[in-house]
């Protein structure tokens, strides 16, 4: 029986050709091969974008296609409207202006830190329909399934005549966006800071790129991962000591990722001092999936680090990375080659530990940075902070965590396997005495407000293996029921209402069994936790530690 339909099979190709010729007629002589003059950028977009298209406007963690964002926000809404935006980060006002103007109506994204409040307002006013908030790898995956962009507006450092792109240290999301769009029958437009004869290296081949426009001003790049050691407190030093001795040394963690924050910066700055005093060099922290954190310079220089693969780069670290090719992934031109998709995959499957901070933790261990009135999303944390159930290769840390999680269980849940260490590190009270431990996360209230199908939880309780506060470490792997898990969390929640609500006897019993361990149980005297333990106490110390190779952006230079 013949079940074949009669249809033409190359509609995407013909549509793409139609749009390219529309661009040709719209731009005329000013279109030089692939090169578009900046003044005609908006006219180009009106030619190659059609209403209801899926458009991927590169808004990354660090770099932004800001000129193309402005050009898109300037199109005639009668010509281009009802777009479905798919992008990693909503970082710029223009990223939301397109919704204000009706140029776009639907959105799938991953993170919107700076625009979270305005996004929540636009959703409440029904000006934006949110498809879903994803983690990065999830969104990238859908670019190849049901969210393939029709048009991609990306950013790179330079381009040559053929359209070969050099993305420089901040490659970030560009490869995965261009791959999906170009081979999915879409059109790729790139803004660049420079047009050159030959690019230092080819990051994106020219035949995947349709148009290149030199932006009037260099693309915006944000130094997100720079933490000034001068702002690390004694309490954060104490918590870093506990992380190193109570978790990294305990499990022999050699492969890990650090979330952004002063807590993790404190850990990085304690490796060459406190870590050294415990004889841990070579035993922990050899391989990293993280951006070139300036706070890691002293540990690299002291020989702790063998390899780092990065999602993106960090402003000011270019010369240092170039001088340390053994540690970083660099091109023939010597500059960093970052890649968010691959680093996220590495973080999920090839790292034994993720440690990061959060705003709220509840009694089940669920953790979230979602707060009412703001829709922010979580970027890569849900991916990095989840057990990799597909993983099969063993490691000391992974197997030990697996044993602790399954010791004494039977059946399916007791089948021997490993488990990823996911540590939530948080001071019991944040500034203005906001408690980090709560009975109910704000995420529930936000879900109702924004009409989300699920409460936006960053890391689910059953993926969290340890909760670390200034009061101690709660090892949830060893808890065998919800009651134990709740008391273990209350047992490190300090003087918050959740902490004060602890059953003192049960908490004491958990401490006996090693499920809760306080600084003194780890042989740590609180009064040793001073800033003198930090391998660098200021941005300038980091510059010195790098032999002058680290050149911090202006906003960090107080000398």
């Amino acid at each position: 029986m013949d079940t074949r339909v009669t249809r033409s099979w190359d509609t995407r190709a013909t549509e793409r050709a139609r749009r390219l010729s529309r661009a040709q007629t719209a731009l005329g002589a000013s279109l030089d091969n692939k090169r578009v003059v900046a003044e005609h950028a908006t006219r180009l977009l009106e030619a190659v974008i059609a209403p209801f298209d899926r458009v991927c406007l590169e808004g990354n963690n660090q770099k932004q296609a800001d000129f193309l964002a402005r050009s898109l926000a300037a199109v005639d809404a009668a010509v281009v409207h009802d777009l479905h935006m798919v992008q990693s980060v909503l970082a710029l006002p223009e990223h939301l202006d397109v919704f204000d103007k009706g140029i776009a109506t639907r959105l799938d994204f991953s993170f919107s830190g700076p625009q979270g409040t305005r996004l929540a307002r636009l959703v409440a006013q029904r000006r934006i329909q949110i498809g879903a908030i994803h983690t990065y790898l999830e969104l990238f995956g859908r670019y190849f399934v049901d969210l393939t962009p029709h048009v991609a507006l990306v950013t790179a450092h330079s381009a040559d005549r053929h359209g070969n792109l050099f993305t420089g240290p901040n490659t970030e999301d560009t490869p995965v966006i261009v791959e999906a769009t170009s081979f999915g029958g879409g059109i790729v437009v790139a803004q660049v800071n420079e047009l050159v004869e030959t690019v230092p290296r080819v990051d994106i081949p020219g035949d995947w790129v349709d148009f290149v426009v030199r932006a009037p001003t260099p693309a915006l790049v944000e130094p997100l991962f720079t933490r000034d050691p001068a702002q690390i407190s004694e309490i954060q030093v104490l918590m870093a000591m506990m992380a190193i001795k109570g978790i990294y040394a305990e499990y022999g963690v050699q492969r890990l990722n650090h979330g952004i924050g002063f807590d993790t910066a404190a850990i990085e700055l304690l490796l060459p001092t406190y870590g050294e005093s415990l004889g841990l060099k070579g035993k922990i922290c050899k391989h990293w999936a993280l951006n070139p954190h300036p706070a890691l310079i002293p540990a690299i220089e002291a020989g702790w680090v063998e390899s780092i693969h990065s999602f993106g780069s960090e402003l000011g670290m270019e010369d240092y990375v170039r001088a340390r090719p053994d540690v970083f992934f660099t091109g023939r031109d010597g500059s960093l080659r970052s890649n968010r998709a691959f680093s996220q995959a590495a973080g999920h499957y090839a790292c034994d530990l993720f440690i990061g901070s959060t705003l709220q933790v509840d009694l089940a261990g669920n953790s979230s940075t979602a707060t009412t009135g703001r829709i922010a999303g979580f970027g890569g944390a849900p991916n990095m902070g989840a057990d990799a159930r597909g993983r099969r290769h063993g490691s000391e840390a992974w197997l030990k965590a697996g044993r602790e999680a399954r010791n004494g269980l039977q059946g399916a849940r007791g089948t021997p396997r490993g488990q990823k260490l996911v540590v939530q590190m948080v001071e019991t009270f944040r500034e203005h005495m906001e408690p980090a431990f709560v009975e109910t996360l704000d995420a529930w209230e936000l879900a109702g407000q924004a009409g989300l199908p699920l409460p936006p939880i960053m890391i689910y309780g059953d993926d969290v293996t340890h909760v670390l506060t200034e009061e101690g470490i709660a090892n949830l792997l060893l808890c065998r029921d919800d009651g134990e898990r709740e008391q273990a969390i209350r047992g490190v929640a300090g003087y918050t209402a959740v902490g004060l609500g602890r059953d003192r006897k049960r908490v004491a019993a958990l401490r006996e069994r090693g499920i809760i361990r306080r600084p003194e149980d780890l042989g740590i005297d609180q009064r040793d936790a001073t800033r003198n333990l930090l391998a660098a106490r200021s941005i300038r110390d980091l510059v010195r530690a790098s032999g002058g190779l680290y050149r911090p952006p202006k906003r960090f230079r107080n000398w």
């Binding site: 106490r537 906003r555 107080n558």
Partner: protein, 297 residues
């Protein structure tokens, strides 16, 4: 690693900079001489009202010392705080120690005590000049995060010797105040490199407003204080005429606008554009090459 001066509290600076265990405090915290004006504003007091004063020894010499706590009210001078400084300086004029050493870290007048603070700061200024007139040298050390501003920025330039680290800053109005009144084009207070080029230790040393530039290290501050302890700037007509010539030539000779690098080049500093990269030792060479040095005579 060295002991950072900027990291220390006011009391730690005294403990580590002067001869071991030589500090004898007057009006210590237990006497609870706190500000009478803060409670009505819901602001907690400090038992020493933000400044520790007393007698100590520096390389064996008797010195009267004061150290302002930059973290309490930004080191601002209130009624009690100012009176403690005035008392110290008047006692110096009376008892003639070998020198007075002020560890200054202040935004100037403590705005929470506005009028009382303003009168207090002017009394401090008057008592510095009285102490010097009685033959007692007065030195000021500036190396805290908050720098030395407002009325205290003026007091600093009324002393015999100014010693700064490159983290220290010395001026009158903070960048935020200037930005608030004339906009971000006048002064972008977020551009820290610009802020330090305008009032930071390196600029003040190259322009001569600071006599000494040291690293952010308590030992370096101690060594400089010892070297310059006895130095006095006579407050006589000739020296004030010389000061007038210097400031007038600077005003009329300086390039237009407020570009520090152009200013440094104009006063003869080589490699002016690299100044922010260089350490204090290299800066000292640059200044002496330009013939701008004033050695402790």
């Amino acid at each position: 690693m060295n002991a950072s001066y900027a990291e220390c509290t006011a009391r730690q600076r005294i403990e580590r900079l002067f001869d071991a265990d030589s500090f004898h405090e007057w009006l210590p915290p237990a006497e609870r001489l706190t500000s009478p004006h803060l409670a009505q504003l819901g602001v907690p007091c400090a038992f020493d009202d933000g400044v520790a004063i007393g007698r100590a020894r520096l390389d064996g010499k008797v010195v009267f010392v004061a150290s302002q706590e930059g973290e309490f009210m930004g080191g601002g001078v209130g009624e009690v705080h100012g009176a403690k400084l005035v008392g110290l300086l008047r006692r110096a004029a009376r008892d003639r120690p070998d020198a007075v050493v002020l560890l200054a870290e202040s935004g100037g007048v403590r705005l929470h005590e506005a009028n009382a603070g303003l009168i207090g700061v002017s009394e401090v200024m008057r008592s510095v000049l009285d102490a010097r007139a009685s033959g007692v040298p007065v030195l000021v050390l500036i190396g805290g995060k908050n720098g030395c501003f407002g009325g205290m920025g003026i007091v600093a330039r009324c002393t015999d010797t100014v010693i700064m680290s490159d983290i220290g800053r010395l001026g009158m109005s903070g960048p935020e105040v200037i930005e608030a009144s004339h906009g971000v084009e006048e002064f972008d207070s977020r551009d820290r490199a610009l802020v330090w080029q305008t009032t930071g230790g390196k600029h003040r040393f190259l322009s001569g407003d600071s006599d000494v530039l040291v690293d952010d290290d308590v030992e370096a501050f101690r060594a400089a204080a010892i070297a310059w302890l006895g130095v006095q700037r006579p407050a006589i007509l000739d020296s004030l005429e010389a000061e007038h010539r210097l400031l007038s030539e600077r005003l009329h000779g300086a390039p237009p606008g407020a570009d520090a690098i152009a200013f440094w080049r104009q006063i003869g500093i080589q490699r002016a554009e690299q100044v922010s990269e260089l350490d204090s030792e290299a800066l000292r060479e640059l200044r002496s090459d330009a013939g701008l040095n004033r050695e402790p005579s």
